[in-house]
């Protein structure tokens, strides 16, 4: 049980660290990730009837 608690704590710390690193990315890098997220989300949202599309931008 102690091991499990320790692992959970470590996972949460890693998650926080990842969040911190992502927040520190350049705006342009973040926009690239947004577009990737759009690509993943659009099929689901279209299936729900929402009118959305992936940004057709070069950067």
């Amino acid at each position: 049980m102690d091991d499990m608690m320790w692992n959970l704590d470590e996972a949460l710390q890693a998650k926080e660290e990842r969040r911190r690193l992502l927040s520190a990315l350049s705006y342009k890098e973040k926009v690239k990730i947004v577009i990737r997220l759009q690509e993943m989300a659009v099929p689901l949202l279209l299936a729900q009837g929402r009118k959305v599309s992936v940004w057709k931008t070069e950067d």
């Binding site: 705006y27 997220l37 759009q38 009118k51 940004w55 931008t57």
Partner: protein, 165 residues
């Protein structure tokens, strides 16, 4: 995105719009980890006409001349749906006045300060605004003194306290 921002800068150069700044989700994204969003909200100053009314017609007409047509509430500019939000009250006007100059690639642009993004989200008050406030509170480098002053001046302290629970 850089091309779209270049178009906005061109509109400023031509005097079609005054100062502009990125707000909404894309404004918050400047300060936080990336998340999914589909619109680019642009806060903008537009000089009132002779009757004191603000019209978006000159802006839409100029964009149309540049080949960018409205699609619903947005205008598709270089593949990005851009929603123009005229600075609609004292808070939005001040937020735009205080916006920060940044670079996106080689292009100059402006983004609202995080404290004003929080205040506007509090004032707007939708569920997604509450999530945005949480994200900014947790991840943005908020200037607590500035935020506190804004909350008090615009009567947003009560909602801030409610949303922090």
């Amino acid at each position: 995105m850089e091309k779209a921002l270049g178009v906005l800068n061109e509109l400023v150069r031509r005097g079609i719009i005054g100062r502009y700044a990125i707000g909404g989700a894309m404004g918050a994204l400047f300060y936080t980890e990336p998340f999914s969003t589909f619109d680019l909200d642009i806060f903008v100053f537009i000089r009132p006409g002779d009757a004191g009314l603000i019209s978006l017609s000159p802006l839409y007409s100029a964009l149309s001349d540049m080949g960018y047509e409205p699609e619903g509430e947005c205008v598709d500019i270089e593949g990005i749906p851009v929603q123009f939000l005229v600075a609609y009250n004292d808070l939005a006007v001040e937020a735009l006045d205080e916006s920060v100059a940044i670079k996106y690639g080689d292009t100059d642009t402006y983004v609202l300060k995080a404290e004003y993004l929080v205040a506007i989200a509090l004032q707007t008050g939708r569920p997604k605004d509450r999530e945005r406030v949480r994200l900014l509170r947790d991840e943005a480098p908020l200037d607590q003194q500035r935020l506190s002053t804004i909350l008090d001046r615009f009567g947003l302290r009560k909602r801030w306290m409610e949303w922090m629970i």
